[in-house]
């Protein structure tokens, strides 16, 4: 008996507006000063009226289009009624049956080596308001909970995926791809510590008692996962738990209602949460305080035009323009926009995208991580690295020497008395270390002849078919002609040896 894991994610993203969704209060994250960003509207005082923030709607639409969603020509807002201390009105303004967008997808790579992709459906993306923040007494003495309503009314985009994910690692991939897109679009900062991106996971199993048979286990929603790592761990734990539970009880979906669980990161386990009473009975109805929104094709086209290049489009362009591997395209684009722009400046500057990709994905990325530097802080500018790579491509220095120059530049630039990494410094280092490739083939030929004469055994080995014998000769030639290009030397040695045959 085996099983398939079925996962769907609900992601809440705070949009990067200046103000809340229905009032002019600032939507800045401000936990140090509770309750200073409220007004009658977001406090739900009688007589106040919500008015839709145009920017919030535009950002939401931009995101939905980038998620390949269809935009509804007609949309409205509904009241979702429930009582909770962080919800001052006693209802949340959300979208029920006519969300502004639906039916999109996100593509993820589920097997990096094989390059297998999965298209994860987006059921809908809708615009709603955030609740405030409850702070619980942790003394164990049952003191009052404290409520900060600064966040109440912050615009939230809820993105609901189809249950298309088949492993905890896929859920993480999906979230990373989603975050990358949102950050590229500039619609959210996706700061999980500040709660700008939150995730709930719906998980169950399709058990196959016999091949071709399918029994679904009861649905579980894991709430308020606050890091991608925790999403992955919580789902992994939940899968194990549901499988054990099914083997013990045999309970199927429909035998029990959907349950809500929390994630205890310390214990590494999900736990049952007491369900909100009548939680499912939200009694949605259209909010009479807000009028519907209609969207024309022209407006959709205008927003679409403002999207710019999405991460998938950029990866694709790198593959087409520079002939980069799928893997390199991902490494570069997934580092977020400024890193990709760093790469592009060098690729364009030196004219060799593959060479540029090798350097930025290996040398630059490694040193950035080791030294905990962002691209902006990295002391070797695209212009300097371009200069260095141009010298490599013109065969003026070897790749090995270029790496030496690169490290020298970096060490000097991050020293206590830093020496800025400039194009002039590149020339200086090459000069002082004698790293310039000797182009004078005459001098090299003389050195090769001398080495061949002194090494009859290596010559005999070569004649006997041992190509490896050339290696020993290269080293000796290089010692005599400092700065020669080893690949060139190798070629010339083989030529001379062949002439002897």
């Amino acid at each position: 008996m085996d099983y398939t894991v079925i996962i769907g994610l609900e992601v809440h993203v705070q949009l990067l507006t200046q103000t809340k969704i229905f009032c002019g209060c600032s939507s800045a994250f401000n936990p140090e000063q509770p309750n200073v960003q409220t007004c009658p509207t977001c406090l739900g005082l009688p007589g106040s009226l919500p008015v839709m923030n145009r920017r919030a709607f535009e950002l939401a639409m931009k995101t939905a289009l980038a998620l390949n969603c269809e935009i509804s020509p007609y949309t409205k807002w509904d009241r979702k009624q429930y009582y909770y201390p962080d919800l001052p009105k006693g209802y949340q303004i959300s979208q029920y049956d006519l969300p502004f967008s639906h039916d999109g997808f996100v593509e993820i790579v589920i097997d990096a080596e094989a390059g297998t992709k999965r298209r994860v459906g987006i059921i809908r993306a809708h615009l709603e308001e955030d609740a405030g923040k409850n702070m619980h007494d942790e003394s164990g003495r049952g003191l009052d909970s404290r409520v900060d309503l600064n966040r109440a009314g912050t615009p939230l985009l809820e993105i609901v995926s189809q249950p298309d994910l088949r492993a905890a690692s896929e859920a993480r991939q999906y979230l990373e791809e989603l975050r990358l897109l949102l950050v590229y679009l500039g619609v959210s900062d996706c700061n999980m510590q500040e709660g700008s991106l939150r995730c709930d996971a719906n998980v169950n199993l399709h058990v196959h008692p016999e091949p071709g048979q399918k029994v679904a286990t009861p649905l579980v929603e894991i709430k308020n996962l606050n890091s991608f790592r925790n999403v992955e761990l919580a789902i992994e734990h939940e899968v194990t738990r549901q499988w054990a539970e099914f083997q013990k009880t045999g309970l199927k979906i429909g035998d029990v209602p959907k349950t809500t669980r929390g994630w205890d990161a310390v214990r590494g386990a999900t736990f049952a949460q007491r369900g909100k009473e009548d939680a499912a009975d939200y009694r949605y109805f259209p909010d009479p305080d807000l009028v519907p929104v209609t969207v024309t094709q022209d407006e959709i086209d205008a927003v679409r035009a403002s999207i710019g290049e999405t991460p998938p489009a950029r990866r694709n362009r790198y593959a087409v323009t520079w002939g980069l591997s799928d893997y390199d395209c991902r490494v570069i684009v997934d580092q977020e926009r400024d890193f990709a722009e760093y790469f592009e400046a060098i690729a364009t500057g030196c004219g060799d995208g593959k060479q540029a990709a090798n350097w930025v994905t290996q040398d630059v990325l490694r040193e950035m991580k080791d030294r905990k530097l962002s691209v902006a802080e990295f002391p070797i500018s695209p212009a300097v690295l371009t200069d260095l790579l141009q010298r490599v491509l013109a065969k003026k220095v070897t790749i090995k020497s270029a790496r030496e120059v690169f490290m020298d530049l970096l060490t000097a630039a991050t020293d206590e008395t830093p020496v800025p990494a400039t194009v002039e410094r590149v020339a200086e280092i090459i000069q002082s270390k004698g790293l310039e490739i000797v182009q004078d083939t005459g001098a090299i030929s003389v050195a090769i002849s001398a080495v061949i004469e002194k090494n009859p055994k290596a010559v005999a080995d070569f004649k006997a078919g041992k190509q490896a014998a050339v290696g020993a000769l290269i080293g000796q030639v290089m010692k005599q002609v400092k700065g020669a290009d080893p690949a060139g030397v190798r070629e010339l040695i083989i030529q001379q040896l062949n002439a002897l045959l």
Binding site: T17, T19, C23, G24, C25, S26, Q33, N35, V36, T38, C39, L43, V51, M52, N53, R54, R55, A56, F57, K76, Q81, Y82, Y84, P85, D86, L87, Q92, E128, E129, D130, A131, K133, N134, M135, H136, D137, G142, L143, D144, S145, R146, V147, D148, L149, R151, G195, K223, N224, Q273, R274, K276, E277, D278, R283, P286, P288, L290, V291, V293, T294
Partner: protein, 108 residues
């Protein structure tokens, strides 16, 4: 009052459920009272069922206005003192409510 004959009377269970959802504590006598009174209100509204709405698009709003937006510009908020003024209980910084038991930092 157009109390159509085929209308189901409002059940006690429905009244109890609605009261619970609205956080109202009703005595058995009050429940009986509302079964009758709410039932009458519903019966009155059900007169609308007599209107033929075949081929009429459902409307979600009584006024014909569309696309009312505001610019994303910060306006002054209330002072904290004013924001907390009407709350039954505060500590001068936050609203205070009886301890929330089911964990969770936020409901949305």
């Amino acid at each position: 009052m157009a109390d159509s004959l085929d209308r189901q009377p409002l059940s006690r269970e429905t009244v109890v459920k609605v009261a619970r959802l609205a956080r109202l504590k009703l005595t058995p006598a009050e429940i009986d009272d509302y079964v009758g009174k709410l039932g009458q209100v519903l019966g009155y509204v059900e007169m609308l069922d007599e209107v033929d709405v075949t081929d009429i698009e459902p409307m979600v709003h009584a006024i014909e206005l569309r696309n009312v937006f505001r610019a994303d510009e910060v306006l002054p908020s209330l002072s904290r003192t004013d924001a907390l003024k009407n709350a039954p209980k505060t500590d001068g910084v936050c609203f205070l409510v009886p301890q929330i038991l089911d964990g969770g930092g936020s409901s949305a």
